[in-house]
Symmetry: C2
């Protein structure tokens, strides 16, 4: 599997005239090599025999949730004193080869890039660009299986929280408890910092949990995800605390729910990224909430919690089958609070039943 | 305070012939500007009136643990569509000024650096290098006060753990419980992912907590820290589970303890970084444990949990008063386990009583 991924990238490099590539962005290295230690870089040689993983320390059982390094890869473990694996890799390759080496200019710093150039003066450095990120967009079934388990874990953690007493507890504590439950159910960790937002904070995108306590009548919005064997999902839900939601709460919830459903229904192969965004965004704009909306209404997930594609008004490109994305509109009314509803789904052809919903927690407006 | 820090950096830039500087590394931006939103960059103009903070979104109350942005700074909040604040800052500055702009080449990627060059073709980009990191090494008393509170919080969280039942619980659960307790006691969050290592894992540097359960006779090593208003400390301790430690455990513990004490005692103003490292490292090497030792035995802490200085064999430089550092040797015997003991201390002149120990949890070998 890893070898096949590397072969695809190698084809792309040869087509671009690059003799070799140095992959340094962590998620890209793991995609091509398996459960590598932090800081490892992959040198993709001109032929499969030249592929070499440079690690800053020996691999350990607990790297990347227990995922193994591809056994077909040759490994160089650097000693503490050798320093930067990217520079070591370029130095070794540059001493035995000439031509071009494609590097990830969107990941390497100027200082590292310069150091690579100076240890390998015979190499011409070119830009690999987002080639690996592009390749990562469409997932194979093994990747989707990991995402499915990650989503199941998040659903379980959230489900348990809903059964507990919430009034009087702080955002921070609820967030920590959710993270503990994720791990209880088998996550390698949270996929991203869990967001719990109450009352006037609810519906804010990426809210950092505070010491505010849950009160009767609050909206409570929660956004969490599990990391399972390196794959990360996302679920966002909004609830009401107390017995009956106020009219404005019902109205706002129904609006966001309708927008989110429209976005989910737009997830078909060959739909444009911007079309899906428009489907989600339009109902909110039509209701007068256009101003405060987030720049995008969804994005890809996988080895990173936020990866391509971007579902945004100016995004170029079209969905393929087997692309997992989030659909998560939100509206926040300053001073009052708001609603976010976010799912992770996999794009599937209509013949296969349409988009596969991974995060299945109910989207009814529950009063807790 | 922030203005004074910026004035020092400005002096350094003028001396190097740079008209202005663009600070992008997050901890450096916060050091010079206060509690900025993630992704903010600081443009340090030729005079104090030119200082401008470019934020990707409006500042929020919960940015950087509630720390405020310096009120003397002019703020530009970018709309969602404007994109990268660094490019926006360079574009604005470059359209009204010429000369040189110093940038952080160790932080900017090649792609961002190129984009900055192309929006500001009249500017010559130079390297600011680690100027801000160097300036951050010596802390003022307000910074040390934050570190002191962070250490107190970590001591409290650890102390409570010691009073609970440990046998049968997993490394993961203990780590999560410690993180919850940190927040309970007022931390904005953990300073870094809490490490709990038991039995054969104990003493491993940066161990990722696993599902292994605590057993009678285990060494249990714990490394944690609190983030308090952006400042991060570190404490590491090793305990024995059960009533009486084995002879090899007592022997190994005493060795690491002696090494750690030697390191602490070497913390005097004007001691070389490598001398402190040597004081800690030598007893372990002399006992035959040289091979597996970590590349450094301590490092600075502050707005980042791992910052300059580095206490390592090849480190250049000398300690000053008011520099907080960790002293944390460890020995890990493969298959058996090991010991780590780590403190955060502030270098103080002998006249002031010598190094100030921030993490005061006992370093006796407790049997839990």
């Amino acid at each position: 599997m890893y070898a096949a991924r590397r072969a695809r990238l190698r084809d792309r490099c040869s087509a671009a005239g690059d003799a070799a590539a140095l992959v340094s962005r962590p998620a890209n290295v793991r995609y091509l090599a398996g459960g590598t230690p932090p800081g490892a870089v992959l040198l993709l040689g001109p032929g499969p025999d030249g592929d070499m993983l440079y690690c800053p320390r020996p691999p350990a059982d607990d790297d990347a949730g227990g995922r193994r390094i591809d056994e077909h890869l040759r490994l160089t473990v650097l000693s503490h004193t050798t320093g930067d694996p990217a520079i070591a890799a370029a130095g070794t390759f540059g001493s035995s080869a000439a031509g071009t080496l494609a590097v990830e200019e969107h990941h390497l710093t100027v200082a590292r890039h310069r150091a690579i150039g100076s240890v390998a003066p015979r190499l011409r450095l070119t830009d690999l660009g987002g080639a690996v990120e592009q390749q990562r967009i469409v997932k194979d079934e093994e990747e989707i299986a990991c995402l499915r388990i990650a989503a199941e874990i998040a659903d379980q953690a959230l489900g348990e929280l809903l059964e507990s007493i919430l009034v009087g507890r702080t955002e921070r504590h609820l967030a920590l408890e959710l993270e503990r439950r994720l791990v209880d159910h088998g996550a390698d960790g949270p996929a991203f910092p869990t967001a719990v937002a109450t009352g006037p904070n609810s519906g804010r995108c990426g809210h950092h949990p505070s010491d505010r306590r849950v009160e009767e009548g609050d909206f409570l919005s929660v956004s969490l995800g599990a990391d399972y064997r390196g794959y990360r999902c996302l679920i966002g839900r909004t609830f009401v605390i107390g017995t009956s939601p106020a009219d404005w709460q019902i109205e706002l919830y129904e609006l966001v729910f309708a927008a989110q459903r429209a976005g989910r229904e737009a997830l078909v192969p060959s739909a444009g990224y911007r079309e899906v965004d428009h489907a989600t965004r339009h109902p909110l704009e039509a209701a007068g909430h256009g101003e405060g909306l987030a720049p995008r209404t969804g994005h890809g997930v996988g080895l990173e919690i936020d990866e391509d594609p971007q579902l945004a008004p100016a995004a170029m490109g079209k969905l393929d089958a087997c692309v997992p994305v989030t659909v998560g509109p939100g509206v926040h009314l300053p001073g009052r609070g708001g609603v976010r509803i976010d799912d992770t789904l996999v794009v599937r052809p209509e013949a296969d039943g349409g988009p596969e919903l991974l995060t299945i927690t109910t989207k009814e407006l529950l009063a807790l």
